[in-house]
């Protein structure tokens, strides 16, 4: 509840990003070239959306909290009930028009329509090899499927605001029970893998509220996690199998750890943990990031092929993430993408349609949000945006979607850079520590006007660098609407190392293997 209250205030203060919200919402000259459409849902359906995917024939499949699995024909604008009665389904993978895989609270389930009447008649348990204490927060997120047919899903920890029920499923761990968000039954706070031959493997630990999984083309798994205890800010992880990702109670299920996870000294936990690829500053523009999705539309959704879009529950916003590899690790930046009064809150699930539009499923199930489904369509015009950002040995290279106006872009005062860090501790969230302005000592604009190289007085590992570029405009006069970038520096670019451009290919899959 505390979090909910905290979460509300930034909604009221939408103006925190100067210029942004207003420019997009008011549809001024700088109209952002994306259109938001609302999908009608049937009367009587409570469209609290838990999952979206597209069938091979182009129809949408949506699952809703109240247990429905529905198909939507975007041409005919008709809905069809495929199955009912599931428990809080929170994700769906469409295999075919007659076969789906759904994550629901108690299990991952294969739904099949074997007689072809358009309704599921087989509900096959793929795995239920994890515990349930009956706590409301024990959601099952996912699944996502890789090229080999393996499935990944994540198990939310339980909340201290709720109980452990008298009858549970699975072994009870008193050690794991300790914590604000806890893991009293097996693999709460873990990402799980189901191999193609059906074996369930606890795959990676240390998650709190991992409400969003996605695989890139190379099979790298990314998971979002929500700000709270042990998470100073919300995070996007590049999940490392077998490793711990920072939220301790799940260590109760790590073989070899017999102590109470919360009693492990913080410096040791800090050394054990995998650093997130991107920290998503809390409150400033995001409170509860949800599902990420890669843009593999081949340009149908605009210029951001290979980059990530992430939903957000508490703001009418979708974020965009730009990743790059530095010292063999993925790190990068988050920027606002769409922030519009036409977009609802509760942007819980994302899926790209075959036509390249981005479908957004919304929910307010026990949380700030809204209900329904909308879609975001690129109008075909080039937005004025930060296309890429890449850490250099002494600053950042910014690449824009359009040539910048050289006069404004050449002025160091056009860039306000601040840096701060979020503390890793059992506290709920973290203030921005050691926040300081970083002077921009040099600005160079490339001959084609699309690249700006900033030299900074300081670069610092384990800090978030926030770049504000409010006054920047394109050569054609279009203002830069999304003018704030948050880059998480885990690794510094070593002098002499060949700078790898912040291409989409790092996560976008053209690097090949």
């Amino acid at each position: 509840m505390i979090r909910k209250l905290l979460a509300l205030s930034p909604i009221l203060g939408l103006a925190v990003l100067p210029g942004e919200a207003s420019a997009q919402a008011k549809g001024s000259k700088a109209t952002y070239p994306y259109r938001i459409e609302t999908i009608e849902t049937p009367e009587g359906l409570v469209p609290e959306t838990g999952g979206l995917d597209f069938l091979p024939d182009g129809r949408l499949v949506a699952v809703f909290h109240h247990g429905e699995v529905m198909f939507y024909d975007p041409q005919a604008k008709t809905w069809h009930v495929f199955a009912t009665g599931l428990h809080d389904p929170l994700g769906v993978v469409a295999i075919s028009e007659r076969e789906l895989i759904v994550a629901q609270r108690p299990e991952i389930t294969r739904l099949k329509d074997t007689d072809g009447d358009g309704r599921a008649d087989v509900f096959e348990t793929i795995t239920d090899e994890f515990g349930m204490s009956g706590n409301y927060a024990e959601f099952t997120h996912g699944p996502v499927m890789d090229a080999e047919g393996a499935l990944y899903f994540s198990l939310n920890t339980a909340s201290n605001n709720g109980p452990v029920r008298p009858i549970i499923r699975g072994t009870y761990s008193p050690q794991g029970r300790i914590g604000r968000m806890f893991s009293a039954v097996p693999y709460r706070g873990w990402v799980m893998k189901v191999t193609p031959d059906g074996k369930t493997i606890p795959w990676a630990s240390g998650f709190r509220s991992p409400n969003g999984l996605v695989l890139d083309k190379d099979g790298n798994l990314f998971v979002t996690d929500n700000q709270g205890d042990w998470l100073g800010a919300s995070k996007l992880f590049h999940v490392q199998p077998g490793r711990f990702h920072g939220h301790p109670p799940s260590l109760a299920w790590e073989p070899g750890i017999h102590t109470i996870p919360l009693t492990i000294p913080v410096p040791i936990l800090d050394k054990m943990r995998v650093r997130e690829a991107v920290q998503i500053p809390y409150g400033f523009f995001a409170n509860s990031p949800s599902q990420p999705v890669f843009d593999y539309t081949g340009g149908k959704f605009g210029p951001f092929e290979g980059q990530l879009f992430i939903g957000e529950m508490n703001h009418p916003m979708i974020m965009r993430v730009i990743l790059e590899e530095v010292n063999h690790q993925l790190q990068g930046a988050v920027v606002p993408f769409i922030r519009s009064e036409e977009l609802r809150l509760g942007n819980n699930r994302l899926a790209f349609a075959p036509d390249g539009s981005l479908w957004v499923g919304q929910t307010d199930h026990g949380w700030v949000g809204a209900k329904g489904i909308q879609r975001i369509v690129w109008t075909g015009e080039m937005p004025m945006d930060v296309y890429r950002i890449s850490l250099t040995t002494n600053g950042f290279d910014l690449e824009f979607t359009k040539p910048v106006d050289r006069r404004t872009a050449s002025d160091p005062k056009a860039y306000q850079v601040t840096r701060y860090y979020y503390e890793y501790s059992l506290n709920y969230g973290s203030p921005q520590h050691d926040k300081q302005a970083v002077p921009v000592t040099d600005v160079r604009v490339s001959p084609d006007g699309k690249r700006v190289s900033l030299k900074l007085a300081e670069l610092k590992k384990d800090y978030v660098f926030q770049l504000d570029m409010k006054g920047l405009v394109a050569e054609d006069g279009t203002p830069l609407i999304n003018s704030t970038v948050f880059y998480t520096i885990n690794q510094l670019r070593l002098p002499g190392a060949a700078p790898r451009p912040a291409t989409a290919s790092v996560a976008g899959g053209t690097s090949g293997r």
Binding site: G44, H65, T84, G85, P106, T125, D128, G134, R165, I168
Partner: protein
Amino acid sequence: MRTRSLGLTLAPLLALAPAAPLEGGEAAGAGAAADTLEVTIKAIPGLRFDRVRFQVNPGQVVKLTFINEDPQDDMDHNLVITRPGARLTVVQAAVKAGADKHYVPDIPEVLFATPLVQGGESYTLTFTAPAERGAYPYACTFPGHGVLMYGAMYVGIEMPPLASDENVPPGQRTIADAQPPPRLRGVSYGTEFPAISRTFLPESGPASIAVGLPDGQSYNFDAGVSYLRYAWSGGFVDNTPHWRGNGNAYALVVGQIYYRNKVGFPLRIGARDSVGVVKFKGYRLVDGGYPEFRYTVDGVEVRELIRSRPDGPGLVRTFEIQTDQPVRFLTDPDGGVRFEASAGRWNGSVLELTAAQARRFTVTMIPPADAGGAR
């Protein structure tokens, strides 16, 4: 529930209605009160009236209470009674009438009408039925609704069989649809009987599956342990409390529990007394939607299909077990029901079956006649 007063804009329209005391039961006069027909019609989810037809005598006073129970907050409905055969004419004309006139067109085909009623509100319309016998359609004339949401008032004539009543929407020409059972509340959209609702149930594990059978009985199969935990009758489940807020609350078991499992997992395969490793494998919908559960006991597959007892209250559980070992089925004498079996031998409260008998057998659970709930 509040009653919304008649909008001023509608008043002139209603004045067209012949011999219709417009509003308030008092207009019908004390003398007529005894003969007044009181009818309640609700707008319910799925663009439907819960009551799609009723009968009245010519000239009889009708006090029609129209309740909008559609949970969509922004979904307004009205109820407009038309001259025989004029439903579609009125529905089409309504679009042009506009919201200001509550989508009630100013044409003689309209006899009586309520204003638009918001979700959760009601309106009472009192009028005198026409003297001329016939089927008088009614519809919601909100644009788009009228093609789905209609019914008929039969004045002084017999109603045709429901299945062939052209004045009733095709989807509601069955008894079940004409009067949707209140049992389906707080379940997934589109749920039909046999109904499934996986949810948090009291006195059960967190992976429970509530199953509602068409005859009013329900049971809880706990997928965490793969057995029937309890059975009840009278209603199904209502997830409204579970869906509210953070989802912590249990769903309501609607009705009276008449059986509670006291023995735990009831099957023993082979000579061992321990249960063995039980794994839930899912279910298949058979015979029009009955879940046939599948689980394994130490790798032996069990199928269990639970249906209502055909000749009275209680449940028939059909088991299919592919094993070459004998099977025992443990019952609980104090669970609330009497057990009968299609095969095997009773040894006290334990049913003993050979491997051949275990391939397919039924166990019938019969509540005592005075169990109350089971009808």
